[in-house]
């Protein structure tokens, strides 16, 4: 690890932010992007300088939830890249570089992009950073779980559905094996059913978001 200079840059930048949350779930479609966007936006409204970083490079969607087109996002270069400002929210997504073009990345490349982004984006003054991630248990998650361990707190998202719970259980085992003590659980599209699951697994239950019709 430590032979990659960017890793040292990433660690320094993450250490400067008091609270970094990584929104994880090995299952897709459970609401990671909605949860990370809402939590960060809400936090920014409460006058906490907050950041949102989209690390789901193949399916970046936080900009859509926030209501921006890729061309509308821009960054300022200042000893790194300064995030885009949406009110009090600092925001970064590589969609502003890749636009709506398809981006196919192999595992190793995904790690490269993660390290590059984490080492150049300058979250000056941000007190809380939320990071959205892709589904799966592959290179992105490995990098986050093992190499950024201790620097980021996992927020695991699950729906009350059996398939989602099983997927989360496996993820929790991996996090525990990696020595992560504090794991936060957000229940999405539910009504509190996962509270007992959270208790039995020793997760910090943050609450639930009901299914919202649109």
């Amino acid at each position: 690890m430590s032979s990659d200079p960017r890793f040292h840059g990433a660690v320094k930048r993450l250490k400067q932010i008091p609270k970094v949350y990584m929104v994880l779930s090995s299952k897709g479609g459970v609401g990671k992007s909605i949860v990370s966007t809402l939590l960060s936006y809400y936090s920014s409204l409460k006058n906490t300088p907050t950041g949102l970083l989209d690390l789901d490079f193949t399916n970046p969607s936080t900009h859509i939830i926030l209501g921006f087109r890729p061309e509308e996002l821009s960054y300022r270069e200042e000893k790194g890249l300064e995030p885009f400002k949406i009110g009090k929210l600092s925001y970064f997504s590589i969609i502003s570089f890749t636009k709506d073009n398809p981006l196919v990345l192999k595992g190793e490349e995904v790690r490269n992009v993660m390290r590059e982004v984490l080492s150049i984006v300058n979250w000056v003054g941000v007190q809380k950073l939320f990071i959205d991630t892709p589904p799966g248990l592959s290179d992105e998650q490995l990098e986050a779980i093992y190499n950024l361990k201790g620097l980021v707190k996992p927020i695991v998202v699950s729906t009350p559905h059996k398939l989602s719970i099983q997927s989360v259980s496996r993820l929790v085992r991996i996090l525990r094996d990696a020595g992560v003590d504090e794991i936060i659980l957000v229940e999405n599209m539910g009504s509190g059913e996962l509270k007992t699951f959270a208790d039995s697994e020793g997760l910090k239950y943050a609450g639930y978001i009901p299914f919202v019709e649109n």
Partner: protein
């Protein structure tokens, strides 16, 4: 394009964290894909080294050509940023893998290719003093 400062900072943090206080020679490769401004990068590096009190006797910064290789048909090709659109060049300047959004294998059209060389900034060699 002053994000070069951040790239240089990672190099310096690497040296610092690995206990290199006096370095005899440091060789850094700049993948041409990233169109790094060598002057700004070198200036940033020297500033940061000074700030941290690290000394480097011999500093060498070399360009590295970009080479891509297709996993589908095996074709290898090179790319120079000059041939690209300004906006695309800038994207790749920040994140070299952005190239995947703009290029396919010129022989078979596959998007399953890798940058095998000249991706970005790397330490080619560091010799302690």
């Amino acid at each position: 394009m002053v994000h070069e400062w951040a790239l240089a900072e990672s190099i310096v943090l690497f040296l610092e964290n690995n206990g290199f206080r006096k370095v005899k020679s440091l060789k850094i490769g700049l993948g041409i894909l990233q169109s790094i401004d060598k002057e700004i990068f070198s200036f940033s590096l020297q500033e940061l080294l000074r700030e941290k009190g690290l000394s480097v006797e011999k500093l060498e910064i070399v360009d590295e050509g970009a080479e891509l290789a297709c996993h589908t048909c095996g074709f290898r090709w090179s790319l120079s940023p000059e041939s690209m659109d300004e906006a695309i060049r800038e994207s790749i300047h920040f994140v070299p893998e952005s190239i995947h959004a703009f290029t396919k294998c010129p022989r078979c059209g596959s998007r399953d290719f890798s940058i095998t060389q000249g991706r970005g900034v790397r330490i080619v060699e560091v010799l302690p003093g």
